[in-house]
């Protein structure tokens, strides 16, 4: 019984939150990796682009709510996401046309493109803050919990409760669907394969008749879908605040690099690596050991490896270690 309690404890406080957080990071990381693999630069505007997509989603959610449209138990935001994606793609394509295209055609070094993306970051940040403001926005509605901690306790008779938020389930489900669609697209369709070829060797791809304009456009479209959905899921699960999104860029980069930048599957797994290690290392294990150890050996301290203040530091340290020993990432990078 105690052992099961300990397991439920871990499930409730580590596994489920890490899985959700990891999914959100994974979507962002695939976005970073796609841009890196095909457009060949580190996009520092990642977090702010995600916040732009989320902002549009929120605005549409509010609009639908004011019209009285809702999805019942599901959050209205799910209905608004397609509109968010649409505007996100428009925004990205226009940025590409007015900003990035020039440097791509001139074959500027990646560093210069990264600098340009900083300019885009400033602008996007300004646009988001001017339109929706810098403060916290909540846009979740519908049923909050699938399983409530207290109900779970009453149902099963365990000491530990297990809470399952609907946003967590939605996040994981949507991520699985989206990522499997993406991998199907990249591996099975002709366009997907030509994207891979373009990422592998640009000149060869051009020689074999692949249209670079089309590739770039599709990349931005996929990026827009990933950015909006990733951002909206994060906002639903936690809350929307432009500054948090900017900060999320850092673990997202860490995830993309840890998984091997340029490799979508690596980025997908990298998201979970980062999320799980962050939560594993900062969780206080006192209660866990209270369950599994006999009473005489009960620990006195919190048994926390690192205080939660260092949550970000964990992912960055992992990144630094990976960069030092396997610069191409855990899964070999630069293969789309």
């Amino acid at each position: 019984m105690d052992f099961l309690n300990a397991l439920i404890l871990l499930l409730n406080y580590i596994f489920i939150p890490a899985l959700t957080y990891g999914s959100q990071l994974a979507l962002g990381a695939i976005f970073v990796t796609l841009i890196y693999g095909i457009l060949r630069f580190a996009n520092f505007a990642t977090g702010d682009m995600m916040s732009f997509g989320t902002m549009v989603t929120i605005l549409f959610t509010w609009y639908f709510q004011s019209l009285g449209i809702s999805l019942g138990v599901l959050p209205t935001a799910l209905l608004a996401i397609p509109f968010g994606i649409f505007f996100m793609i428009l925004y990205m394509l226009s940025i590409d046309k007015f900003v990035f295209k020039y440097y791509r055609i001139n074959k500027s070094p990646p560093v210069q493109l990264a600098m340009v993306s900083i300019g885009v970051m400033f602008v996007t940040q300004a646009v988001v803050r001017i339109i929706i403001g810098p403060s916290d926005q909540r846009f979740f509605d519908g049923e909050k919990f699938i399983i409530k901690a207290r109900e779970f306790k009453e149902m099963t008779g365990f000491n530990e409760g297990l809470a399952l938020k609907s946003t967590q389930v939605i996040t994981v489900l949507v991520t699985i669907i989206l990522v499997s669609l993406l991998f199907w697209f990249l591996n099975k369709t002709k366009t997907g394969k030509s994207m891979k070829a373009y990422s592998d060797n640009e000149d060869l791809a051009l020689l074999s008749g692949i249209d670079p304009k089309k590739i770039v456009m599709i990349t931005w479209i996929i990026a827009g879908i990933l950015a909006t959905i990733g951002g909206a899921l994060y906002g639903l699960d936690k809350s929307f605040k432009p500054f948090t999104y900017f900060n999320n860029m850092l673990p997202i980069f860490a995830a993309a690099i840890v998984g091997g930048i340029g490799n979508p599957f690596g980025a997908f797994l990298g998201g979970y690596v980062i999320a799980f290690s962050e939560i594993f290392l900062t969780y206080a294990y006192k209660k866990f050991f209270m369950y599994i150890l006999p009473e005489s050996m009960e620990p006195e301290s919190l048994l926390q490896l690192l205080s939660t203040d260092y949550k970000f530091a964990v992912s960055f340290s992992i990144l630094v270690i990976v960069l030092l020993y396997r610069p191409s990432g855990i899964f070999k990078g630069k293969v789309l």
Binding site: V123, Q125, Y325, P327
Partner: protein
Amino acid sequence: MRKNLNVIAAYSIMMALIILVGIFQSWNIALSIFNLCLISAVMTMGANIQWGYAGLINFGIMGYTALGGLAAVLISVDPVQEAWSAGGFDILMSLWLIIAMVLIIRFILKRFNKSKIRTYSIAVIIISGILLIRFSAEPGIEAIEAVNPAKTGFLGGFGLPIIFSWIVGAFFAGGLAFIVGKVALGLRADYLAIATLLISEIVIAIIKHEDWLTRGVKNVIGLKRPAPYEVDLQSTDWFINLIEKFNSGKLELISNLSDRQVELNQLVIEGSSIFVKLCYSGLFLTVVIILLILTQKALYSPWGRMMRAIRDNEEAANAMGKNVVKQHLLIFILGSAIVGIAGAMLVTQDGLFTPGSYRPMRYTFLIWVMVIVGGSGNNFGAILGGFAVWFLWIEAAPIALFLINFFTAGMSETHALKLHLIESVPYFRFLMMGLGLLLIMRYRPKGILPEKIEIK
């Protein structure tokens, strides 16, 4: 003379703008803008050394700035005796443990050849070392933080004049840069950017949460000043006389004696804060000029030519027998040390250390905008960038307000859009920075004052 015409013109325009602020807004605002421009100029010089001279991307400027600030605290604050007696021993113990750990790792690295066993044993030493340090420092940290937590709760510093911290800040930042450089400089450019950005976040996390050292988010306030205090000035005779002499024309117009006294008091209060700011300006200007002379000398020395050679073609420079790795490390340390000076200057000027205020937008990316807009590789350009961008950063809100009022003049005062726009005026500075950066990168990629190589 003619060659430098654009430099002189650009700087004259900049000074004229600041003087205009002095005339139309107030001299207080103008001087505080000027002081922060000088500090920004020091930061951009540091970044320019790394990026302009050597082509190294350092997105960790925020971390070095914060370390400089930490130096200001550690140098100037008086030591907290109770805290030292409560937990000083444990902290020193952990310090020794860290040193021992580093020495052991060095020994292993030197003694044994590269192998899996070596890597794993180093990992084991690091992990067990961290656990040991945590275990041994914990009681000390708790004891220190328990000493009068509302006022101190940390070890304090050395109680020296804060000016010394400018040098110590440079050493702190240089030390960090040495470690970061050893670890990350081998990486490709964009990886280096990301790695340094993340490392600076780690530094900030440590400064924010190690309360025993920095008081963390509780902030350290009331740092000692290198300049006189306003309150003291207002009661010293020579200063009052000075102000009286300065404004004698204005004062004589007032016939009533008591009115004149009131007016004089008002002028003295205003004058004191301007005087203090002028003191700071003098100090900062000295630093900027010294650094400018040194960096200019370095740029046109054989060493500077070598750095440019390395930047432009690493392999060729390597083949010519230049030690690229060593030079990169050196320049990384030098640049970061300059940023550390700026960090200490910033805290000196503010008189307070707020770890929560270190954010990458303000302390990393804004500095980069300055370098790129000003002209990378050209010290005058970098300084001008620091001035121009900081000026715009501060004056963006008034400018935006003016533009909004201008374009929405036809709308009624209570129109929702107008109110919303006026409410979000502070964020237009991001827009201006972004657009400025994008335009400069597109149409003048070498910056306002581009690098020019003179062969004498």
